[in-house]
């Protein structure tokens, strides 16, 4: 039976019906808004946590790579330096060459590169062996997806 709103007086049954529909639609709208807010915030929080950590890890690993190279080169400098002759020598007694140092640093660099997703590049022109100071100098570039760092390593024999 259809209620005719015009024939009935004010405050009739039809107004609660309209109000009821409004309430329902309003409730559904609030419900969807709530769910939408929750989904968006979840996504934002999750991405924030992941994105921030990657770059800071790379910076730390660049520093570790510098230690690894410096340690290796220091030991090479100590073992190859001959105090009596005052020069850096190879195992057979001849002078240490730039190529020897490059090969050595590249071997360490390869190991570093394969243990993390990074590339270690040695510029062979920057290798300098100074028998006088004494010191061995090399410039190395460490690169990952986020960070690229160029470092000059100076290695001196122990005791100098």
């Amino acid at each position: 039976m259809v209620t005719d709103s015009e024939s009935a007086g004010p405050g009739s049954v039809s107004r609660p019906c309209d109000r009821g529909q409004l309430l329902l639609v309003g409730a559904l709208a609030i419900a969807f808004i709530l769910l939408g807010i929750v989904v968006v915030f979840n996504g934002v929080l999750y991405t924030e946590t992941i994105a921030a950590s990657a770059t800071s890890q790379s910076a730390g690993s660049a520093q570790v790579a510098e230690y690894e190279l410096a340690d290796g080169l220091d030991e090479l400098a100590t073992r190859s330096y001959n105090e009596t002759s005052g020069t850096f020598e190879r195992e057979d007694g001849t002078a240490l060459t730039d190529d020897d140092v490059t090969t050595f640093v590249e071997a360490i660099g390869d190991s570093i590169g394969s243990s993390r997703s990074a590339g270690v590049a040695v510029d062979s022109e920057t290798v300098s062996i100074d028998h006088g100071s004494p010191a061995i100098t090399v410039t190395v570039t460490y690169a990952t997806a986020d960070v690229e760092r160029t470092v000059t390593i100076v290695a001196e024999p122990e005791g100098f």
Binding site: L24, A27, L28, I30, A31, F32, L34, L35, I37, V38, V39, F41, N42, L45, Y46, T49, I50, S53, S56, Q57, G60, S61, V64, Y67, E68, D71, G72, E75, L76, R79, S80, R90, E91, L96, D100, T103, F104, A107, I108, D110, S111, I112, S114, S115, R116
Partner: protein
């Protein structure tokens, strides 16, 4: 009623973050990774990693590490791993990785405490062994001047 149900659903789903599925929290994993890396750096600054690798004598089985007599995890590395990881309830594996001239990769298990879980982290440190070190394992790289081999020491913590 609908609002109440929607509010209930919303509150329930806020609880579903990446960590509640049983996955490890990202920041905790990063922290563990940094600690593992620092442990290796600090140990090597006192020569601990070189001493450990030189004392190793055979593949390790679960909870038994194989070292030569009178050698063990060097006294720089052992306590660090013990205090930082074992006492906090973490387990760790230690491996030494060698790459030889012809490209073969050998992984020597120095210390094993089981299989890593899916949330494990690893840290590596590269050391060089020289000809005048004692008790060297047999993986040499003859192209290197003065040096015997380049070793990657890998620590897995979970």
């Amino acid at each position: 009623m609908v609002v109440l149900i929607a509010a209930l659903l919303a509150l329930q789903s806020v609880v579903i973050t990446p960590t509640t599925g049983g996955a490890v929290d990202r920041t905790v994993q990063d922290q563990l990774q940094q600690e593992a890396s620092d442990a290796l750096v600090v140990a090597e600054s006192h020569g601990g990693l070189t001493a450990t690798v030189m004392g190793w004598s055979g593949n390790a089985t679960d909870n038994v590490s194989a070292f030569e007599e009178n050698a063990s995890l060097s006294h720089e590395l052992g306590p660090i791993l013990e205090h930082r990881f074992s006492e906090q309830g973490h387990s760790y594996n230690l491996e030494a990785v060698y790459v030889e001239e012809n490209g073969t990769v050998t992984v020597d298990r120095v210390l094993t405490q089981g299989r890593p879980s899916s949330g494990a982290v690893t840290a590596s440190y590269t050391i060089t062994l020289f000809d005048d070190h004692e008790h060297i394992p047999e993986h040499t790289d003859p192209t290197l001047e003065h040096a015997y081999a380049v070793v990657e020491v890998r620590l897995t913590v979970w």
